[in-house]
């Protein structure tokens, strides 16, 4: 295995940052500064939601907010830098929420996001 491949694999082993929120509002407000430099994934835990939300910072500085519930059998998804995976039946999703491996057939629930005053607003009702 090449050195770069090994480095890539080791990088992918580091835990993803987690942000806990307790807001009961229909929106979540996440500071943009929550993303460390060179970090594009953030797991958001909210006690009012059964599953976590994966916030993905895209290259154009917009965001995907993906509900980490497999659309196949509602199992929790495992998030990595190369996508989201369901350990139960092997479904996989891209960081855009699209199905990359079946049996899931539908994309992940994606919440609308917008950026205001250095805050990422996630609209949970969408």
């Amino acid at each position: 295995m090449g050195g770069s491949a090994l480095l890539s694999m080791l990088n992918s082993c580091s835990p993803l940052p987690v942000l806990k929120t307790s807001s009961k509002e229909s929106t979540l407000s996440i500071p943009e500064a929550s993303f460390a430099e060179n970090q594009n994934l953030l797991i958001i835990k909210n006690a009012n939601y059964e599953f976590d939300i994966l916030l993905v910072k895209k290259k154009d500085n917009t965001y995907n907010a993906l509900y980490m519930q497999c659309t196949h059998e509602s199992q929790p998804l495992s998030a990595t830098k190369s996508g989201l995976f369901c350990s139960s039946h092997g479904s996989a999703f891209s960081l855009d929420g699209e199905v990359t491996t079946q049996p899931a057939t539908r994309p992940l629930k994606k919440f609308k996001t917008q950026t205001e005053n250095n805050q990422i607003i996630i609209h949970l009702t969408t």
Partner: protein, 399 residues
């Protein structure tokens, strides 16, 4: 959960999207229905005969009691019908368990469930594998949809993204049911009056990293759920892990964004008291079996952006197994149990959840041992060949 339609307690029909948006909350009290199935026509190139079969139809029913407790069940009808008193299909529960969420990363299951062993065992929907038949190694060495009654714990390790684990305690096997040629498959209980005095433990580690899915799993269980008197009489070790069967397996899959798909699996089964099983039951149980396969495929639609919602996978697979890799002194070798399969084909998916499959299968075995088979002396008896070729055309779906 997979949802086609969803029936609440007041018979209101809500769609998948409604359920998803509602988060399947207990207030909705949702009961869900779904399913999968497959059918195929097979043409035997040697004898120039064909068979057509509705291989299976599986009905899934689930119910969410609360955010923490859910019910899952799958009822399967194989070969289209079950007729009293005749050789025909089979109807059985493929799964039936309660799931208890411990927290967001861990859950328990209790009931009849499929442990994480191999690829197909847990992920057996026909839209997820390319051939009309499930991989033969995962039918004959690792039993297909191998379910037993027990308790399992599943989860992920947040500190290592992509790393998942599972462990389960379930009823063991019945070595008296082992049949030469089907490995340990006919020793399964599948939830039907299983002996619970012999147990099995299984565990698996599953890791997703850079488009690879890597898994290792093990199984160790007793195969003699006998009373002391029966065990002593048959000279078999009884108790929780008496007359043990051990299975170890590893597999890796690659699903790249470049249209290339690969998978490989290897497994080894050890039955250390095979000699005593043969004395007790005269079923020619081997001391060990192994099998492996590797498959590579490429999505021919990958270069065409406008065909992104469809796929046409060209694939090839090689499988090999030896169901009597080693035999006890009282075992009888049979070359028929050494098998190789060369498979190539096309798997077309007009959309996710629907499959049309065309494949060619060449099966090569060793010579059968005439001492083991009582053959019909009539002239119409079909001669034995070591090589057969088949063409399979089929459909599959899951929703």
């Amino acid at each position: 959960m997979i949802l086609l339609t969803c029936f609440s307690s007041n018979a209101q029909v809500i769609t998948r999207e409604d359920s998803l948006n509602a988060g399947l909350t207990p207030q909705n009290n949702p009961t869900v229905i779904s399913g999968y199935g497959q059918a195929k026509v097979q043409y035997d190139l040697r004898f120039q005969t064909g068979t057509a079969n509705l291989t299976r139809n599986v009905l899934f029913i689930g119910h969410r009691f609360s955010n923490r407790i859910s019910f899952f069940s799958e009822m399967e009808l194989e070969d289209a019908k079950v007729v009293g008193g005749k050789a025909s299909g089979e109807i059985s529960m493929e799964q039936l368990f309660l799931k208890f969420n411990i927290n967001r990363n861990n859950y328990l299951v209790a009931g009849l469930f499929i442990p994480r062993i191999g690829i197909i065992n847990e992920n057996h929907l026909p839209t997820t594998f390319n051939t009309n038949d499930r991989p033969y190694v995962e039918q004959l060495v690792i039993p297909s949809t191998w379910r037993e009654l027990g308790v399992g714990v599943y989860g992920q390790i947040p500190k290592i993204p992509g790393l998942n684990y599972s462990a389960a305690l379930m009823n063991g096997l019945n070595s008296g049911g082992f049949v030469q040629g089907t490995g340990i498959a006919d020793g399964k209980f599948e939830g039907s009056n299983a002996t619970a005095s012999n147990l099995a433990i299984t565990g698996a580690l599953l890791y997703y990293v850079n488009h690879f899915r890597v898994q290792v799993s093990s199984y160790y269980g007793g195969s003699a759920g006998l009373s002391q008197k029966q065990g002593d009489s048959l000279k078999l070790d009884y108790g929780a892990f008496g007359t043990p069967v051990a299975l170890n397996e590893a597999n890796v899959q690659y699903n790249g964004t470049n249209g290339i798909h690969c998978k490989a699996l290897a497994c080894f089964v050890s039955i250390k008291d095979a000699d005593r099983i043969n004395v007790a039951y005269a079923n020619n149980t081997p001391s060990s079996m192994y099998g492996y396969y590797a498959e590579v495929g490429y999505n021919l639609f990958q270069p065409f952006t406008r065909l992104n919602s469809k796929s046409l996978l060209l694939f090839a697979r090689y499988e090999a197994m030896n169901l009597n890799a080693s035999l006890p002194k009282n075992g009888i070798e049979d070359g028929l149990q050494q098998k190789q399969f060369f498979i190539a084909g096309l798997h077309f998916q007009p959309l996710k959840g629907v499959s049309v499959k065309l494949d060619y299968v060449q099966r090569i075995t060793g010579e059968y041992n005439k001492l083991l088979y009582v053959t019909n002396p009539y002239a119409s008896n079909i001669p034995f060949y070591t090589t057969y070729q088949f063409i399979n055309l089929g459909i599959g779906y899951s929703f």
